[in-house]
Amino acid sequence: MQRLRVSHVRLTRLLLVIALMWSNVSNAKVVEIPQPGGIILTAEYHQGDADKPVVMLMHGFLQTRESRTVYKLFTALSDAGYSVLSPTLSLGISTRNQSLACEALHVHSMQSDIKEIDVWNKWLTDKSFSNIILLGHSAGNVHLLAYLEKYSQKNIERAIFISLGTYGESSSSYETVAEATKAKALIENNQADKMQSFGLSFCKEYVTTPVNYLSYYEWHAERILGVLKNLSLPVHVIVGSSDKRLGGKWLDELHDINADLTTIEGAGHFFDDAYEFDLLDVVESILSTE
């Protein structure tokens, strides 16, 4: 496990912030891919150096690619010369560009989400990228793991999971066994498509169908650890030591499976403030390694 001691407020990083204002993001473009049923998928893409791999970023739960952590990674990696694709999961909304509220009607599921990831994977493949690096944040990591579990991993070079969390009952989330039981009961009562309010992740009232609910709920820690262990590509996990969303046992469990875990001291779930630079350092460090 690599541990980095983070120094606060470095002048060089301040200069970097200033430099980002004239970063290569200006070269980025939005890619839209219409889907059957009228939904149009969107992603921001930066064409990087030809000798560098492409990085596909995945935002967190109900977020967009505009979320701060993901956006900073996009710009930093773009500036570093990487080609970067940062899609926004539609979550059932065409050209979605807004975070989706917990209380909104969630007609999406884990399956629909990873299907979209696959669309983008294919789009990258179509762009002749064969060395895709998956870089997720928070629940986006779960989507990537679910994708890796279900789809082929042949053009995936490696995966970096930042603030890797889990679904399923935990002290830091609202989903409970009881909620899952309720969803299952509804399914058994032929009410699989009935909109209901469930507790999921940080949403106390997450409105969705029982089936959709369970598609996320089933991605609990045990399942994730199982997937991680079975992945054939290099996997890196980066966490902040002050991330409250991650239970203490989770990190231990990650240790237990010998995950390549980097902990940034003092950083939280979103690596706010100066910790984002530490995060970028780590990510770039990982990307620069063979």
């Binding site: 839209e32 049923g37 009228g38 939904i39 149009i40 059932g92 909304i93 065409s94 050209t95 979605r96 560009n97 807004q98 989706l100 509220a101 209380e103 909104a104 009607l105 007609v107 498509d193 909109m195 409105v207």
Partner: protein, 742 residues
């Protein structure tokens, strides 16, 4: 100033005026502010209407904007793409998501053709809209005011593509009444009234608004400030003005009144010595000064008054006392007379007036000098006062005339007092001052009783008449006035005769000299004429008796003699008396010693060459003033006058005196001449005439009325005769009849 008021009235007027002005000013100010308030309210009402219109426009616009924003919400787009859960989204999500404010009561999503995405029983919005008219409108009814706003849902990738429409229903009443802020109108009183349901445009909503203005804090503050100012002014001005009256009353008016009353008391008490000083406590320095000045002035005034009182008493005494005799004087008599008159008018009583006169006092004065005469008066005054009763006063009226008033005194008592007075004077002896003759007084008494109808003033002239009577020879020296007495001396007190005599004396008016011949008994031709005074008035001759009575009573002998001399001189100058004859003029003893008379005679003496000039002097006149008279007569004889002793033998004729008198002619009184007809007396007169004739005197026989008498006197030593037998007195000498000649 024509009108004067008490200072408390001025204070009251000032207080009332200031308070009235203040109240007026307050009312004017309050009215002005109230008017301003009304104008502001009217203006504010207009502004409030404009404000409400603006707020309505803003609210409507905001709701339209909400509709626009709502249409941009991706969940709306999500529903258009996947309306499976539209009902759930409509009922549980659309309004609860926090995208729309709470006053949005309903939403609906419409397909591009205007039909609602899904007909819901719970929706209050139309099931179909007209995509060609998306203007919002307002539904107003008795209880509701709601705006229905529309907005197209624009495709985000292609803004020309409309994916559908949304409608929202907003509780506009809530927004306008409970949310929006107003500066001018009272939000709580804002109402939109429409009895029946209607659909209107937002621009029409103002017509249904009922509102009240918000209390204008500035105006309220101004009014509060004005009221506060008025209250303060009332405290600052009103209270002092209210206090001014009692203060002025207490501090100035009442003390001034007290001072004034004190001064009045001082006046009323006529500055008695024990009058207390004004000592009341005063609150005003100037009044204290006034009090001190008053007391000081009062003290000074009292001292001056006391001094004046003493002086007045002294002056009164001086003014009412005769300095010589210490009797009261004429002024005191007049004052006493006035008070007695007033008393008599109110209550009739016995009053007697006694007038005292010293007999022949003039002769004493002339003979012994005034200082002796003064001593005589002092003694007589003292003697009379010594016998008067208590309270009876002796007044010296002038010269030798005294008076005394007896109040509540009957005539008998008055006579008794008069008798005591006469006795007291009789007992006096003046030998020490050289007076050998007896000094007597005459007393005239008049009386008026309670039943008398006469005026008290009559007492004076009645006493005068009585005195005149008492003075007459042979009468008692105490005379009481009777009406008969009045007849006897009426000429003396006749105002007509008085006027005639005084006019004759002063202007010579009415004097008409009558001449009676004095004939030479040898040839019975008029040797000269005796000038006899007559006064003519209204064509008649006034009785010579009355004239001489008045002249003697009024002691006008000198003045009358002067007038006669003037007239005779005039007659001589005019030739009324034949030249070669002469004129004999009667001159009183008083006149012969007067320088002016002597000067008149000196002037007349220049006619001695044309006329024989004779002065006839009575024996009494020569006796009383013998020295001065003799001197003058000697002087006049040297100038050519002859002196005739008139009425010889009528009184106490003294042969002794005759020898020493400068007399040329002796006129035997008629009584002596008539006695020639009696044998016994004839002898005496014969011898007397022979003796006087032998001493060198010419003799004139008066009263010759018959031839027999002419014969008698012609046979004696008489050289001249006079009487009706020879001629009566006449103003026309041609008419003089001389019996002997005839």
């Amino acid at each position: 100033m024509k009108y004067t008021l008490s200072i408390r009235y001025y204070a009251g007027i000032i207080s009332a005026t200031v308070i009235s002005l203040f109240v007026l000013l307050g009312l004017l100010t309050y009215t002005e502010v109230a008017s301003l308030q009304f104008e502001l309210k009217d203006s504010n009402r207009k502004i409030a209407g404009q404000e409400l219109q603006a707020v309505i426009s803003d609210a409507v616009h905001d709701i339209d904007q909400l509709a626009n924003e709502f249409s941009d919400w991706q969940e709306v787009s999500q529903q258009l793409h996947n309306p499976v859960y539209y009902a759930y989204w409509h009922n549980h999500r659309a309004l609860q998501a926090g995208v729309l404010p709470s006053y949005i009561t309903d939403v609906a999503i419409y397909l591009p053709d205007g039909k609602v995405l899904s007909k819901l029983d719970t929706s209050t919005l139309p099931t179909e809209i007209n995509p060609g008219n998306l203007s919002s409108f307002i539904e107003i009814s008795e209880n509701k005011l709601e705006q229905i706003a529309f907005s197209p849902v624009i495709n985000q990738r292609n803004e020309t593509k409309v994916e559908g429409y949304i409608a929202i229903r907003a509780d506009l009443n809530h927004e306008l009444v409970n949310v929006r802020q107003y500066n001018y109108l009272d939000r709580k009183a804002l109402k939109f009234v429409k009895s029946s349901f209607a659909v209107i445009q937002s621009s029409e909503l103002i017509d249904y608004a009922k509102f009240e203005l918000r209390p204008n804090p500035l105006m309220k503050e101004i009014m509060d400030v004005v009221l506060d100012m008025l209250v303060r002014m009332a405290l600052v001005i009103g209270l002092p003005m209210l206090l001014l009256y009692p203060l002025v009353n207490k501090l100035i008016a009442r003390p001034l009144e007290n001072i004034s009353q004190h001064i009045d008391q001082l006046n009323a008490t006529n500055f008695v010595s024990d009058q207390p000083e004004y000592s009341q406590t005063l609150g005003v320095t100037e009044l204290i000064k006034v009090r001190e000045s008053l007391n000081e002035y009062h003290q000074q005034l009292y001292e001056v008054h006391s001094s004046l009182d003493d002086k007045n008493k002294e002056l009164w005494n001086m003014a009412h006392h005769d300095s010589l005799t210490d009797a009261f004087n004429r002024r005191a008599f007049d004052d006493h007379w006035a008070s007695i008159s007033e008393l008599f008018d109110k209550s009739r009583m016995d009053i007697c007036l006694a007038i005292f006169d010293v007999n022949s006092f003039k002769a004493f004065n002339d003979s012994y000098g005034h200082h002796i005469g003064d001593k005589v008066l002092v003694e007589i005054s003292s003697a009379i006062k010594s016998v008067l009763r208590k309270g009876e006063k002796l007044y010296r009226l002038g010269g030798d005339e005294f008076a005394c008033l007896f109040v509540n005194c009957d005539l008998i008592s008055a006579k008794e007092i008069a008798r005591r007075c006469e006795d007291a004077v009789t007992l006096l002896s003046f030998s020490e001052i050289g007076i050998r003759e007896p000094v007597r007084i005459s007393i005239g008494l008049s009386h008026m009783g309670p039943n008398s109808s006469s005026d008290l003033a009559d007492l004076k002239w009645q006493a005068d008449i009585a005195m005149y009577s008492a003075k007459q020879p042979g009468k008692t020296h105490i005379a009481y006035y009777t009406d008969e007495m009045k007849e006897d001396v009426k000429s003396v007190f006749s105002s007509k005769i008085n006027n005639i005599v005084y006019e004759a004396i002063t202007d010579g008016l009415g004097i008409c000299m009558y001449y009676q011949p004095v004939v030479n008994l040898e040839n019975h031709q008029p040797d000269y004429y005796e000038a006899l005074l007559r006064i003519e008035t209204d064509g008649a001759i006034v009785s010579p008796v009355d004239v001489f009575q008045l002249v003697e009573a009024r002691r006008l002998e000198v003045e009358m003699d002067a007038a006669i001399l003037q007239k005779v001189y005039s007659d001589l100058k005019q030739g009324r008396i034949p030249e070669g004859t002469g004129v004999s003029i009667n001159v009183s003893g008083k006149s012969i010693v007067q320088k002016a008379i002597v000067e008149q005679l000196e002037k007349m003496s220049k006619l001695k060459n044309r006329y024989k000039l004779v002065l006839e002097i009575t024996e009494t006149a020569l006796i009383t003033q013998i020295e001065e008279a003799s001197s003058n007569l000697h002087h006049l004889r040297r100038l050519g006058f002859m002196v005739a002793l008139d009425d010889f033998g009528s009184g106490y004729s003294s042969v002794r005196y005759l020898g020493s008198m400068p007399v040329d002619i002796v006129k035997f009184d008629i009584t002596l001449i008539h006695s020639l007809q009696k044998d016994k007396e004839n002898t005496i007169v014969r011898h007397l005439s022979a003796m006087i004739s032998e001493s060198g005197h010419k003799l004139v026989a008066e009263g010759i009325e018959t031839a027999e008498m002419d014969t008698i006197v012609s046979n004696l030593e008489f050289s001249h005769g006079q009487g009706y037998f020879y001629g009566k007195p006449s103003s026309q000498l041609d008419a003089v009849k001389v019996e002997k000649i005839v």
